[in-house]
């Protein structure tokens, strides 16, 4: 940061040392991705090569890509579609439900508003994963086990997202809303026409982290997706990992394919993902 009392040579040495550390760390962080790609394009013999390490298959098995979709015990295509549908509906649902609730909690002064807010805060303290037993009891009573409803609906009511939206709307410039109200707009129109269009970057940040969380979720889909038709992509991958005899190249190819949507997001939306992560940390 500062260089008072530090010689020119020392500074250069520190710079070189930092560079070396960063490059080594980069290699270490990328090794798992390298292995994933290598194994996805290999035969099982190449993966478990007893004669030495194969850096990369000389004849990449591109047909693994097609084969991954044709494994009857691991319905990759179907489960990818399930995951996509679940992640999109949950993201949109959370944005609408938590966005409205956050706005209401931030702006509308009724006697019980703070009581409702404290209930939201209290649920934040209880990790969702610990309540999976009671939630399962409720969902099975509704007859929603192994349905998309059962996978989606309980995840629509996120106390954290509501809390974050409330904090954000508390800081939203009131003048914009007041101008709309003077023009005769009611709360509904003020919210959708004025507040939401001026909050896109915050909405995008919450949207990306909600989508990632939904796509990567494992415990709840494992509990609810008992029938193969309701598996999400993570459940399909998990059955590969814990199978009796493991189809290695199929498993790695399926894992690689499962990452494509999120890798695309990282390529084009990383800014918003970083913003979303920062939000989850700042609130606590």
């Amino acid at each position: 940061m500062s260089s008072v009392g530090v010689g020119q040579g020392d500074r250069r040495a520190a710079k070189v040392a930092r560079g070396i550390v960063l490059v080594l760390l980069t290699i270490a962080f990328l090794i798992p991705f390298y292995l994933l790609v290598r194994d996805a394009l290999s035969t099982d013999q190449q993966i478990n090569n007893v004669n030495g390490w194969t850096w990369f298959p000389s004849n990449p098995q591109w047909h693994n890509l097609i084969d991954a979709f044709n494994d009857p015990s691991a319905p990759l295509g179907r489960s990818m579609l399930n995951s996509l549908f679940i992640a999109v509906t949950q993201t949109v649902g959370v944005l609408v439900i938590s966005g409205m609730a956050g706005y209401g909690l931030a702006r509308i002064r009724v006697r019980y508003a703070s009581a409702v807010f404290y209930v939201v805060l209290a649920t934040l303290l209880i990790p969702a994963a610990v309540t999976f037993v009671p939630s399962f009891v409720m969902v099975s009573t509704l007859g929603w086990v192994s349905t998309l409803r059962g996978l989606i609906v309980p995840g629509l009511f996120q106390a954290l997202a509501t809390f974050l939206f409330r904090q954000y709307f508390l800081g939203f410039p009131k003048e914009l809303e007041e101008a709309a109200q003077i023009d005769g707009a009611g709360p509904w129109r003020t919210f959708w026409r004025i507040v939401v269009p001026n909050s896109w970057s915050f909405v995008a940040a919450i949207a990306t982290i909600t989508f990632i969380g939904s796509w990567n979720a494992f415990l709840w889909p494992l509990v609810i997706g008992q029938d193969q038709n309701s598996w999400t992509v993570q459940i399909t991958l998990s059955t590969y990992a814990t199978a009796q005899s493991i189809n290695l190249h199929g498993m790695f190819m399926a894992a690689l394919i499962s990452m494509v949507p999120l890798l695309l997001m990282f390529l084009f939306l990383q800014r918003w993902i970083v913003a979303g992560v920062e939000q989850t940390g700042i609130n606590e």
């Binding site: 530090v6 960063l22 798992p32 994963a129 939630s135 109200q181």
Partner: protein, 324 residues
């Protein structure tokens, strides 16, 4: 806070003045109860049905003998709680959590803070390195677990870890199938480190950028640079973020399930060691015997535990005072 309040008051006065006969039904100040529930109602209803009522129901179930039923009739008092607390497997799952958290919380904290400081000090390629360390956030625990289990830490000699050991002349290690020494801890903890240090690094980076530069300049005049500057300026300035990160790390460690399940479960079931609380709970409530009575009692105990942890840590670090 007084200035904005005054501004909105005068705006309110202006609105209700005779000059502006706005249609009154359109203003929420006329019916705040209606509008509150229009906005907050859907969320609150869902929260009640899928979180609050289930928790209440679960507390009720925990006092009943509820094998394979969610509408039991046999009241058993505190027997389920006694059974859970008396079960060595449940207690050992709590020990597993403590051991796991005692390692993963400080290690993740130090590494992610280290990465953030390292990146902050680097002028060259910062965006690239940040992306590399952040990229694992796109990876699910399931995908990472199977890379670790079947790619890096396979028990056979062709796995990456054993290949590297072979290069330096060491024998292959059966990473996941021995308990003495417990090599599986290395597999379990490194996968979580890889997955989440980038996430916390981003939090620390954001916090580092909020530290006013003039603090460092003033300290440099007093001769405090390098480690001293970190110790007396950076670290104290990161207090809020550090508290948040510690809390998130602790809660996440408590919820550990995905990587344990996908690294250690076999077709024959989950091994009797390295069971964190949620794995144990999953087996009790959703295994071959669906024992919702004991499962609910376990969930209640765990919920109370994590709530106590959170409150104690909140009290200790003065969390929530800066809030609201």
């Amino acid at each position: 806070m007084s200035a904005p309040a005054a501004a909105s008051d005068s705006a309110g006065a202006a609105r209700s003045g005779p000059a502006r006969p706005a249609p009154s039904r359109r203003r929420w100040t006329d019916n705040p109860h209606l509008w509150f529930w229009v906005f907050v109602g859907p969320f609150f209803l869902g929260l009640a049905i899928f979180v609050l009522i289930p928790i209440g129901w679960s507390i009720w179930l925990s006092f009943y003998n509820a094998h394979n039923t969610v509408t039991p009739t046999e009241f058993v008092g505190f027997d389920n709680y006694r059974a859970m607390l008396g079960d060595p497997a449940f207690r050992s799952s709590l020990v597993t959590f403590v051991v796991f958290a005692a390692f993963i919380v400080p290690t993740t904290f130090v590494i992610s803070l280290g990465l953030a400081v390292l990146l902050e000090a680097t002028s060259w390629g910062r965006a690239f390195f940040r992306s590399v360390f952040f990229l694992p956030v796109a990876c699910s625990y399931v995908v990472a677990a199977l890379i670790w289990r079947h790619g890096i830490f396979t028990g056979i000699s062709s796995g990456l870890a054993n290949t590297v050991l072979g290069w330096v002349g060491l024998d292959p290690v059966p990473w996941l199938s021995v308990v003495h020494p417990p090599w599986y801890w290395l597999v379990i903890t490194t996968v979580r480190l890889w997955l989440q240090v980038g996430f916390y690094m981003v939090l620390f980076l954001a916090a580092l950028q909020r530290i006013p530069r003039h603090l460092y300049e003033a300290a440099a005049l007093d001769g405090a640079t390098g480690w001293k500057a970190f110790r007396y300026i950076t670290f104290p300035q990161l207090r809020t973020t550090s508290t948040a990160v510690l809390m998130l790390l602790l809660v996440n460690a408590f919820q550990a399930f995905d990587e344990f399940y996908n690294i250690l479960a076999t077709p024959g079931g989950y091994p009797p060691y390295a069971r964190p609380p949620l794995i144990y709970l999953y087996n009790i409530a959703l295994g071959s015997v669906q024992d919702f009575g004991n499962g609910s009692a376990g969930a209640v105990i765990l919920t109370l535990l994590i709530a106590v942890f959170a409150l104690v840590q909140g009290k200790l670090t003065g969390l929530g005072r800066s809030e609201s």
